[in-house]
């Protein structure tokens, strides 16, 4: 699904570039120059993020995850799975099958929900990047609240879906 979206994005970008180029050459070149600068600016942080994720995935594998947040892990399990979600940067295409596997193996609904919520909304690893674009205060507040609400909503989901 994501791959298709990427190809569509490339198509759209290409068309936009051509239209832009036909309308105004210098503006288009300026935007490409800016894009390149943005790219160079973010590259070091980006490589660092990927190196960190590579290391984390070596340490944490899916078996460990299944072991730690089983259905009887209770509040500790919820906390642990929320932290797992915060500190990992796994594409959802990988995360959902893991989550489904967890549920099949008797993991709690609340634990699974909090994992998905924090995984998608809270990013410790991307925090430096977020600070760069949105400023420190928004970055910290947004991640803090997202974490807090992920815990609360997981409990609600757990209660509703029992």
């Amino acid at each position: 699904m994501n791959a298709v979206f990427t190809y569509i994005l490339y198509g759209v970008t290409f068309v936009l570039l051509i239209v832009s180029f036909l309308k105004d050459k210098s503006k288009t070149l300026l935007s490409l120059k800016k894009a390149w600068k943005m790219f160079i600016n973010i590259l070091p942080q980006f490589i660092a993020i990927l190196m960190l994720v590579g290391l984390l995935l070596e340490v944490i594998n899916s078996e460990t995850i299944q072991h730690v947040i089983g259905s009887k892990s209770g509040i500790a399990g919820i906390l642990i799975s929320s932290l797992l979600g915060v500190f990992t940067l796994v594409p959802v295409l990988i995360a959902f099958p893991i989550a489904a596997e967890l549920l099949n193996n008797g993991a709690g609904i609340a634990q699974t929900a909090v994992f998905i919520s924090t995984l998608t909304m809270v990013g410790f690893i991307t925090l430096p990047m977020e600070t760069k674009y949105l400023g420190k205060k928004i970055a910290l507040l947004r991640n803090g609240f997202a974490f807090l609400f992920a815990l609360i909503s997981a409990c609600i989901i757990g209660v509703i879906l029992v």
Binding site: L9, I47, F96, A99
Partner: protein, 177 residues
């Protein structure tokens, strides 16, 4: 020297950790680096059109228009636009951030940008479809219902907390992107 270290501290720290791992657990270190290399290409492939689109937007779209659509006085319409924009944008958080940055630069209202970020990260359409197929519609439906409330709560609480001075700093920061 000091400035370079300050700018690249994150990369430096990770490289040092990686070197240690390579030294003491060569096998794990190599697998980790292999992952990094492979995914670096994937992610950059994904980011490239985003960077180009974001900067085309930056060059072409007038600040005034953007302010009208999702700015301070855009009201309910602005909220709706932000929400819809988020729901159809299927890119990971790290790629969303530059987009959010340019929306800020163009004078978007902070709460609207947070709604955009929240909607895209937690219930964009491709993600929902995939979630239904792997976790079932019940799970997806309940999570969606709870999360839509959460997204609005986060956006409006943060905007309330930020002082006028904070907001000024945030917009200035976005201006320098």
């Amino acid at each position: 020297m000091k400035k370079t270290v300050k700018k690249y501290w994150f990369l430096l720290a990770v490289v040092i950790v990686n070197l240690f791992v390579l030294l003491f657990y060569p096998q794990k270190g190599i697998t980790a680096l292999h992952f990094t290399g492979k995914n670096c290409l994937n992610f950059l492939f994904m980011l490239m059109p985003i960077f180009i689109c974001v900067n085309l937007m930056d060059v072409w779209i007038e600040r005034d228009i953007m302010i009208k659509v999702i700015g301070k006085k855009s009201g309910f319409k602005g909220v709706l636009v932000a929400l819809l924009l988020g729901v159809v944008t299927a890119i990971p958080l790290y790629a969303l951030l530059p987009v959010a940055g340019v929306l800020l630069k163009k004078g978007g209202r902070i709460s609207n940008i947070l709604i955009f970020l929240g909607a895209s990260t937690s219930f964009r359409i491709p993600l929902l479809l995939f979630e239904i197929s792997s976790l079932g519609w019940q799970f997806t439906f309940v999570r969606f219902g709870v999360n839509i409330i959460v997204i609005f709560a986060i956006a409006f609480i943060i905007e309330k907390i930020l002082s006028e001075k904070d907001k000024k700093t945030i917009y200035e920061n976005a201006d320098n992107l």
